[in-house]
Symmetry: C2
C-alpha cells in the first residue's frame, strides 16, 4: 500500500490547475452522444449520468489527477481496512462492513468486526421471523401489527427515509411510525392512533444517553401505563444500542440488538439501527437485498478511474463546482414520491459530515467545505422552489433521481399518457431546460441556462437500488471529506447547544441564557 499523505485541498497542485481552466458552456457541450456516454454504473441497477455537468475532457483529466494526488482511493481502502479515520474520536469507520466483506478482515482485540455485524443481522433475522409468525406476540397475546422507532438524528432520518421508500414495493408485515422530537406533541400525535396491544417499540440510541430518546421512552411507558394498564411495557420494547451503553442488557427490553462505536449515527441505516425496523416491516429478505445493493455501490467506489466510479466523480465534480465555481448549495430532486424524505436524510448525512471548518489535524481550512443540502420530490418541487433554480441569482447544483417504472399499480393512460410518462417527461424536460435555458425577448421570460445537474436513474426503486442510492451518497460525502482533508465522521458542532441547554435546566446564572429561557416560559 502506498504511503498516505494528508494535505489540504489548496495545497494540491491540481487544484491550482483547475482554478485556471475555462468552464465549458452546457449549451455548447451537451449532445446526444454525451448523454449516452457520460454514464457510469452506480450499482444496484442504478446509473449515474453526468452529461449536464460543465466538465470537458481537460477538466476530467485534472480531476483524475486531483483524485490521485489526494489519494482518494487509497484513503478509502485504508478506511475499509480499519484505519482510524475518525481522528478526533480515534475510531475506525466501519459502516461498509455492515453490508459486505472486503480484502481482509478488520479485527479488534482478536475479534472479527464483520462477524460481529453479521451476528446482529442473524439475530435480527430470527427475531423478526418470530414476530411475523406470532411466536413472539404482545403481552396480551396479540400478534404485532405496528412498530414505532423511537430515535433522533441518524436513528430516525435514514430509517424513516428508507421505510417510506419501500412501503410501495415490498410486502408489508408491520406498519412503522416514528417518534423523534423531544417536543411532546410529536409523541402525542403518534401515540393516540396506535393499537397499543399490538405495537412494538424500538428504542434506538447508540450511546444510550440521548436526551430526546430517553425522555420519549419514559413518555411512552407512562402512556402505556395510563392507556393500556394491562400491558407489560418491557414485552413491547426492544433496544438498538451499543454494548457499552447503559441500556445494554437491561431487562426493560424484550430483546436488544447491538452496534458499536465504529458505526456513526448518520451512517447507521445499514446496521441494526435501520435493519431491525426494516426487517420487521418488510422481512429480512428485503433488508438483505438493500445491503446487497449498498455493497455493490461500495465495491464500484473502489475503482481509481474516476469515469468508472460514480460516487468518486460525483464528489470531485461537486467540489469543483463548490470550490472553483462558487456553488454553495445542492438540491436533491428525486422524481419519486417514495423518496419524499430521502433529501432530509442526505441533509444530515452531508451537512453533519462535512459542515466543518478545521482539517483533520484541527487547523482551520481556507476554503469552503460541505454545501447546504435541501430538496423535495418532483414534480412537487417544480411548483415550489424551481422558480429560483431557473431564474434566481443563486448558484445551485442539482442532483436529479429518477426511475423508469412505478412501485405500485394504479397508473393508467389519461389524455393519452400514463402518469409515469408525464412524470418522466417532466424530469427529462427539466434537465434540458436548466442546461440550455431559453432566450426570450421578454427578459422576464428569459432563462439563462447553464445550470448544471446530474442524474441518478434506474429501472425501479427497489430494496437493491435503494441500497445503492444510499451508499452512493455516503461514499460521495466520504470522498469529499478526503478531498477537503477534514474528518467527516465526528460532529463536535452539536455539543455546545446540548451543554448550554443542560445549564438552563440546572438553573444557570448566565443572564443571556436566563433571559431567553424566561421569554420562552422557563
Amino acid at each position: 500500500m502506498e504511503d498516505i499523505v494528508y494535505k489540504n485541498l489548496d495545497q494540491t497542485s491540481f487544484f491550482q490547475t483547475l482554478q485556471k481552466g475555462t468552464v465549458p458552456s452546457l449549451k455548447k457541450i451537451l449532445t446526444e452522444e454525451r448523454i449516452n456516454t457520460c454514464n457510469i454504473d452506480a450499482g444496484g441497477g442504478l446509473q449515474y449520468n453526468y452529461a449536464a455537468l460543465p466538465v470537458d475532457e481537460k477538466i476530467i483529466a485534472a480531476l483524475q489527477d486531483l483524485s490521485d494526488e489526494q489519494q482518494l482511493i487509497p484513503k478509502y481502502d485504508a478506511l475499509l481496512m480499519g484505519e482510524r479515520m475518525n481522528t478526533g474520536e480515534d475510531r475506525m469507520v466501519l459502516h461498509h462492513l455492515t453490508r459486505g466483506d472486503f480484502d481482509r478482515p478488520v479485527e479488534e482485540d482478536g475479534r472479527n468486526l464483520r462477524d460481529f455485524y453479521m451476528s446482529q443481522l442473524e439475530k435480527i433475522r430470527t427475531f423478526t421471523e418470530k414476530i411475523h409468525s406470532g411466536k413472539i406476540a404482545g403481552s396480551s397475546g396479540k400478534k404485532f401489527t405496528d412498530v414505532v422507532q423511537i430515535g433522533i438524528g441518524g436513528s430516525d432520518l435514514g430509517p424513516r427515509a428508507l421505510y417510506l421508500a419501500l412501503t410501495g414495493c415490498c410486502e408489508q408485515h408491520l406498519h412503522a411510525h416514528f417518534i423523534s422530537n423531544v417536543d411532546p406533541d410529536d409523541a402525542a400525535t403518534i401515540l393516540k392512533g396506535l393499537p397499543l396491544e399490538s405495537t412494538l417499540f424500538i428504542l434506538v440510541s447508540k450511546s444510550g444517553t440521548t436526551q430526546e430518546t430517553l425522555t420519549n421512552q419514559q413518555l411512552v411507558y407512562h402512556y402505556i401505563e395510563e392507556h393500556a394498564p394491562g400491558i407489560d411495557p418491557s414485552g413491547h420494547m426492544i433496544a438498538v444500542t451499543s454494548q457499552s451503553s447503559p441500556l445494554a442488557g437491561s431487562s426493560d427490553f424484550l430483546e436488544s440488538f447491538y452496534i458499536d462505536d465504529y458505526i456513526g449515527g448518520r451512517y447507521s441505516s445499514t446496521s441494526a439501527v435501520g435493519g431491525t425496523l426494516l426487517s420487521l416491516c418488510f422481512g429480512y429478505r428485503n433488508f438483505s437485498a438493500l445491503l446487497e445493493g449498498a455493497h455493490q455501490a461500495d465495491m464500484l467506489a473502489r475503482s481509481s478511474g474516476i469515469t468508472s466510479n460514480a460516487a468518486l466523480l460525483d464528489a470531485l465534480i461537486g467540489a469543483y463546482l463548490g470550490n472553483v465555481l462558487g456553488y454553495r448549495v445542492s438540491a436533491i430532486l428525486p422524481y419519486s414520491q417514495a423518496l419524499v424524505r430521502f433529501p432530509a436524510h442526505l441533509q444530515q448525512l452531508d451537512m453533519e459530515s462535512n459542515g466543518k471548518q478545521v482539517n483533520r489535524f484541527g487547523q482551520p481550512v481556507n476554503y469552503h467545505t460541505g454545501p447546504v443540502i435541501f430538496g423535495e420530490p418532483g414534480t412537487n418541487g417544480q411548483h415550489s422552489f424551481y422558480q429560483l433554480l431557473h431564474q434566481g441569482t443563486e448558484k445551485i447544483l442539482l442532483q436529479f433521481i429518477g426511475f423508469r417504472t412505478n412501485q405500485q399499480n394504479i397508473d393508467q393512460q389519461i389524455d393519452g399518457f400514463s402518469s409515469r410518462q408525464k412524470l418522466n417527461a417532466n424530469l427529462a424536460a427539466q434537465i434540458v431546460a436548466f442546461a440550455l435555458g431559453k432566450q426570450d425577448v421578454d427578459p422576464n421570460k428569459n432563462f439563462p441556462g447553464d445550470r448544471p445537474s446530474s442524474l441518478l436513474y434506474g429501472e425501479a426503486l427497489t430494496p437493491q437500488s435503494l441500497g445503492a442510492l444510499l451508499a452512493h451518497f455516503e461514499n460521495k460525502v466520504m470522498f469529499q471529506g478526503f478531498l477537503w482533508n477534514i474528518n467527516s465522521f465526528d460532529q463536535e458542532g452539536v455539543q455546545l447547544g446540548k451543554v448550554l441547554a443542560k445549564q438552563i435546566l440546572a438553573g444557570t446564572d448566565d443572564p443571556l441564557l436566563k433571559t431567553y429561557a424566561s421569554i420562552l416560559g422557563l
Copy 2:
C-alpha cells in the same frame, strides 16, 4: 398618497451607506436588556425578537431611511388599495383581503372584491356545517370522515402545513390526506388506506388546467369506479377554482368554491384554497380565528416605523445580511413538531416569489435577490444539519420559532423536567450558542459564534398565532420584493419546463429531449 417611485436597491443612497458601515459583533452587543427591548408585537399573540441579529442603532437608522427611500409602506398601501402590483401579469394582489378590510373597498367593474371573498367564506361555512351535521353525506349515505386535497404547489404546501399545525390543538371533524405529485405512487399510497364511502375529495386548481391535478382527479375517478363501483364520484368531489376556469360550474362536483386571479397560488392559504379544507377538518370557527390572526399581522405591517413593524424589520435585516454581508441561505427552525411542513411552505412562498433576476420593469438586477430556504423542526434539526450551522463555512441566517406551551397533554416530568422545558431550554441554548460561540483550545471544539438568528415566539400554536405566523412571512417576502424592486407575484421561471415536457409527450424531434426521455424509459 405620495408619488411612488420604483428603483433598484443599488440605486438607493442608503444602500450605499449600509455597505460602508461596520458590523457589530453579537458577542459584544447581545445583552439581557437587548433581549428584553428588541421585541416587536407580530400579531396573533406572537412576538418578533431581533436581539441576536447584528444590527445596532446606526444600522437600524440606515434601514429606516432605506425603508422610507424605497417607500415600502406606501407600496404596501398601494397594494392593499388595488394597485396592479403583479406587473408582468397585470393583476392586483389581494390575498390580504381574504382576511380583512382596509381603508377603502377594492372594486373591479363595480364589484367589491372583499365582498366576493366574503361570499365564498360564507359558502364554506354553510357547506362545512352541512357536512359536519351529516346533512350532506356520501352517495351511499355515510357521513364523511375523511377529506383528500388534490392539488400541487400553493394548493398543497400551505394547506398541508396549516393542517398539520392545527391537528394537535383543534377538535377534528374530518381527517385530511393529500395527493399532489403526478407520480402515481403518491395517489396509490394515499388511496389504498381510504374509506371511500365516507371520503370527500377537494380538487384544487385555480386555472383548472394544472396537469398533475387533473391527472390525479382522473386517477381518483378510475380508482373509485374500480374499488367502490356503487359510489357516485361526483357526490364525493368538490372543486376550488376560479370562475373563469374550465372546471367552474361543472356538474362533476358536489359544490364549487371560487377564488380569482388576484390570489396567487402560494398566497392562497387564507382563501378558499386553504379555507375549505381547514373548515372541513376543524370547523369554520377555527379557520376564522386563523384569518383574524393573519389580519392582525397585516395591520401591524402597515406601521412605517421599522422597530414597530416585525415583518418589515425582518425583511430589511434579511436584505442587509443578504446583500451587504453575503448571507445567501436562510434556515427556518420551528421548535414545534406541529410546524413540521411549515418550512416547506415558506420554501415555496419565498423562493417562488423572490427567486428572480429581473426587476419589475424586466431589467436585469445587479444584486442577489431571494435566498434559498430550508428547515426542519428542532430539536430534530440539532441532530441533523446544525453541525454545519455551528461550524461550517457557509453564512446562514437562522429564523427560530417557539412557543411556551404544548398543543397536547401527554407531557410530564421526567428526570425533573417536562419535555416542553427540555425543548425550550434547547431553543434558548441554541440562540446563545450561535451568537456567542465558545473558544476552545481544541480547534475542532471551537465555535466561532456571531451566527445571527431571530426568534418568533408566543404562548401557544393556535389558529390565531398560526395565522399571524403565516402573514408575517407573506409580508416579509412582499417587503423584500419591494426592496429589490422585483415582482414577487408572478412565476415565469416555471414555464419552460412545462413546455418542454409537453414537447416530449407530443413526440419531439429534439435530440437532447429525446435522449433523456429515452434513458428514462419513454
